[in-house]
Symmetry: D2
Subunit: 385 residues, 4 copies
């Protein structure tokens, strides 16, 4: 039986793609070596600088975010290099595994998945590395598996306080264009991002932003690379072209997305996400449930991970909400599998869509027999109005 109405895609990415972007993507493809393409390419490359807030280099890959993770590492590091990472959650762990797979020595500062990276621990760790063997510090900005945000500017200060020369790499795949982010001002060397979150596109494009220091590192980095190599990109990018076939139709959508973000105003976009995160947490508290992020001030505006009471399956709850209310929530990953569900409130989203989403969760709790107090939606409405 057909389900009526719109599906609510409330996972923490891909976020629902606005019609304007779908329409852009659905335009006829063009010759990526022809004169008209240059405008598309330059607009995308320049536009992404305005989103990363950088005057330095931006690279666009026809690839998933996983590819941009790999690109950040292979472009700047050599086999056996030590890299310091922080266990903010599942995605930090995946990035670490990727680093290991590439032949790097990845070291973890362990975390409890209930907050962002801790700058003090990073500073201490780096201070111990007198010989500066650690070549990079890698932090996840918005940990998509937990809904916690790492304080990037503070991590920068920590590295500086330790007077450590390591490169600073940040994964803001799910943070960019939803949370405040400043590649240059915050002194990030390599930023990693993807298309299907705050940028509101389907998956298929991913990004690196690279500082001058990172570009220098690229010259001596020995990890094997070809598809991801920045060095091949720089030349063609200057005139809006790419060294191999780019994802033309997604670039159409990207340019539309960048326009939309600026039409709303980046600061308004960030404020909107923050406001929705707060309203979502207000609802969760009213239900008597816990938000996975337990560190005040680090709760994400992108998503809210909700812990179910012991003995209740988050996956069963999600199956119920999908079946009865045609809403997709994100699942708990690895350590928190079946224990949490994640509410995505990112991308092209507004107050009424959030309230629909919370209503889907609240009715689902009832339907699935999860003990909770009602009134979460009401509380969120109070919060929003």
């Amino acid at each position: 039986m057909r389900k009526a109405g719109r599906h609510f895609l409330q996972i923490p990415g891909p976020s629902a793609v606005p019609d304007r972007i779908l329409s852009a993507i659905g335009q006829q493809t063009i010759d990526h070596r022809g004169p008209n393409f240059a405008k598309v390419g330059l607009r995308a490359l320049e536009g992404m600088k305005s989103i990363f807030k950088t005057d330095e280099h931006v690279f666009i890959y026809p690839a998933s975010g996983t590819g941009a993770w790999e690109a950040a590492l292979v472009n700047t590091l050599s086999p056996g290099d030590r890299v310091l990472m922080f266990e903010t959650g599942h995605f930090a762990t995946l990035w670490k595994k990727l680093a290991e797979k590439l032949g790097l020595k990845a070291e973890f500062i362990e975390g409890d998945w209930r907050g962002g990276a801790n700058p003090d621990q990073i500073e201490a760790y780096l201070a111990d590395d007198k010989s500066h063997e650690i070549k990079a510090v890698c932090v996840v900005h918005n940990e998509t598996s937990t809904g916690s945000v790492s304080p990037i500017a503070e991590v920068r200060k920590a590295i500086d306080s330790a007077r450590h020369p390591a490169l600073f790499m940040v994964d803001t795949i799910s943070g960019l264009a939803s949370l405040d982010y400043r590649h240059d001002e915050w002194g990030v060397d390599v930023t990693v991002s993807g298309s299907q979150k705050g940028l509101m596109l389907p998956p298929g494009l991913s990004f690196n932003a690279a500082s001058a220091k990172a570009m220098d590192a690229n010259k001596n980095a020995k990890l094997q690379r070809s598809y991801w190599d920045w060095a091949d990109m720089v030349g063609p990018n200057k005139t809006g072209y790419f060294p191999y076939t780019p994802g033309t139709n997604l670039l159409y959508g990207l340019n539309e997305a960048i326009d939309m973000l600026h039409e709303e105003g980046l600061d308004n976009v960030f404020a909107r996400h923050a406001r929705h995160g707060a309203a979502a947490r207000a609802a969760v508290r009213t239900w008597g449930l816990d938000v996975l992020c337990a560190t005040q001030g680090q709760e994400s505006g992108v998503l809210t991970a909700v812990k179910l009471p012991e003995g209740h399956s988050a996956d069963a709850f999600r199956a119920t909400t999908l079946e009865h209310y045609d809403i997709s929530f994100g699942n708990g990953l690895s350590k928190v599998a079946d224990k949490v569900f994640r509410i995505g409130h990112l991308g092209d989203f507004n107050d009424l869509m959030l309230l629909a989403t919370l209503a889907g969760a609240e009715m689902g709790l009832k339907q699935a027999g999860v003990p909770h107090a009602t009134g979460g939606v009401q509380e969120a409405m109070t919060h929003l109005s």
Copy 2:
């Protein structure tokens, strides 16, 4: 400043068009005289019979619903003919004015706009017309201005009880494909409908369904007609063609819409609208406001018209909700201008969309300073789950 997220188009039509239909409409147009068109045309004509529940004639006009109103009258009546209409609200009044403009003598059974047509009054009126001068009884099925539903089967019985030979014409522009409707079983002679309500299309197509009796009347009807003339349609329609250029791209969408309705199941569609109407009224009652339809059992599943307290402007309220929550409600029309707002809950719609809609109304009441009790959304959630 760009508004983020999806606009909520909660007027009682046009309803938000599902992507699948927009995509169908956006396909390349074809030769309406060529062999491929016949499939499109036949599918639409046959499909609409399944929606009207008729084995008789269906006519499709490239025109708004207003055109199909006119078509119903000019195809069956002659200048000076008396027609009996029932004042269910604004649209019944417009239809009457149209009849008068065409040179008919339209007579109104007055109503208070708080319910559907009254079969007893109609029976009495017809019984008085011993000489059978009244040639048609015209009733609005779902009065879009008030949210009241006329009991069509009962009106048929009233006409029969009065042993009156008048044609029975029903406007179900906003009822079709949302409320149960049975052209043949209920003995309707001419049914009028349009594309932009339960059929989920943009405006631009309208319909007549006609009984054998209506087709007979057509032969002697003297009102001037050309564009609307059924007689010119019958022949070409047999093979899927039209006497003049049809609205090809909207027909693509219509065929998609018919498929979607049958994929859900018409009875499920009707039950969904009824359920949403009940939940909406539960919310309104919780707010302490009145539903305009005051006749139990005649409340519409298509829309709910809500009366604001004396001294409060419904239009100011609507401006507030549009500005703050990006939701469009319908305005009060003529007699109830600025006194009511109308919540559309028709078309491709589901529980979470309804709750978002009601949340928009409840927050708007607060924002606009309209006295009300909170808890309407909560009550609707209880009702739905």
Copy 3:
């Protein structure tokens, strides 16, 4: 078996709709009473004035061109009025029949379907009407059935020379936005047009442009009308609204079309059509076939009707080209049924599309066994380059 590649829709309308317009039409519909609609409506109404080249009134109907024919007559005339029409071909004949159906006395100056209207004959006819009983002169600008163009400015002069007060009505359904047209400068009182030809839209919108004299006539015109009544349109149109539900999504497309026409430049659009008409005729002459339009200087840039040699079926030829080359040509209508085929070269069209079209015709002639000389495409190439 699926046919590969793009269908060539080379009938004289609907013309193939450009992607940009299809994309516009596929956008979400909006509240036609809401504040955002006004911009859409005003832009369309003002834009169409720039296309008709008028500062007077433009009316937009959610209807086929046939409806706009009817609108022109019912808005300005009264039952029994005499109207003078000129038999340029099938569509002039249809318009005459429509007039008769509406109760007008339509009189024909007969033509041989091989040229446009003859101003001298019109002048003579009017000069005979000393008592000025003829209330309107109706001429088809671009006769879609024959590919002949009537000299509208000359007809105006003819009416003036005859010092006759009749209204001057012109059908440029298939001429507008392809051929030079000047409603005000040429002194036309009512112009009729449609969406699916030079305006490059799917069918579903039609138009009237009306002079002050026509607006005056409207006040006393007694033909029955409602849907078509200009008087109801004028008020709402002032602020961009319509008296009944407009064809919102086609209006999106119309606004895009108007932009596209001005981006190319109307004079360039006209020159392009003229050039393509000349190239098409060069091909036809090379094949040794006759162009139906036999009046030098009146051949259309919109379409070219080609006579097949005696004993050869144009419809069989068209079936062949559709089957083998996936190209649709227009059929011969009534008097020239099966004797001519019509090549549409209008709308969003360019040199290479024309050459493909002519190649389809030339190969079709061979395939269908129609005697002809080869080299038509070659000749057209010479002509174009």
Copy 4:
């Protein structure tokens, strides 16, 4: 000034994307971990097997074809491995450079860019490698820079005759779904392909097909890899999922493309391309110009590269055709830069589109002052009809 009509994208890929695929790509994205995705993923993976004609493994990357080249090598080889490649043209050269960049010892059998790979030379080369140090033979099936086709089945026989155990890798990025291809029957170990050629999609997806022998090689291959690793794909692919975020919207389009290819019939698709190639060459010969591919029987049905006479710039010619006829031809690459232009006749293409394309070339030759005989289009018409 806006150019009217459709652009002709006649480069040898990306090919113009059919509306049906653009429409599929423009659908709303979904949760790539949710239950509905599995259908999309399985359909794509199974469908691609039918296109590669393999019962073994197919891998789909959200990446350009360049990525799939890299994937083929890093999944099966180890640093320092010798690989034998054949210089069919620019793309064979790029693949070799890529291999070198990855740390492989790539050896070239030189070619003159005027034909496909030579099986005899390959056999002789392998026969010399008594110690079987060569780990892979890499051949380009359809060399996009020259329009020559390598005889893949013959190369297989050559390897077998030399009794050499090297893996056999084939790049059919621009050949697949246009030219006959049989991964299993021809004993290919790794096939590489991409989305934007015969598959009619925009760029952004690429593919590997892998034999059991290649899967075995994967276990011991030491080249660094993560994004491209088959080993991570196999598990999730079984149920239709991917180890990282897939290119969901392009997968929608891929499924549509696979359906379209089967609706036409793969053999019909191949015959169509062959027929168009022959017609294009007939035109080129009539112009008195040379086709770059000089090896009879190895001319491509995908594209035709045309040599301009000494002293004439192919790039100037291409600029002329783009400017005057809105058609994009492919440029000459590296060794043949500015000396040849390439006519793409692949993807969703038909006779009339080919004739338009050839007309654009012929008129462009005249416009650009390139000496040539006229009549090429005429000759192609003769050939096609």
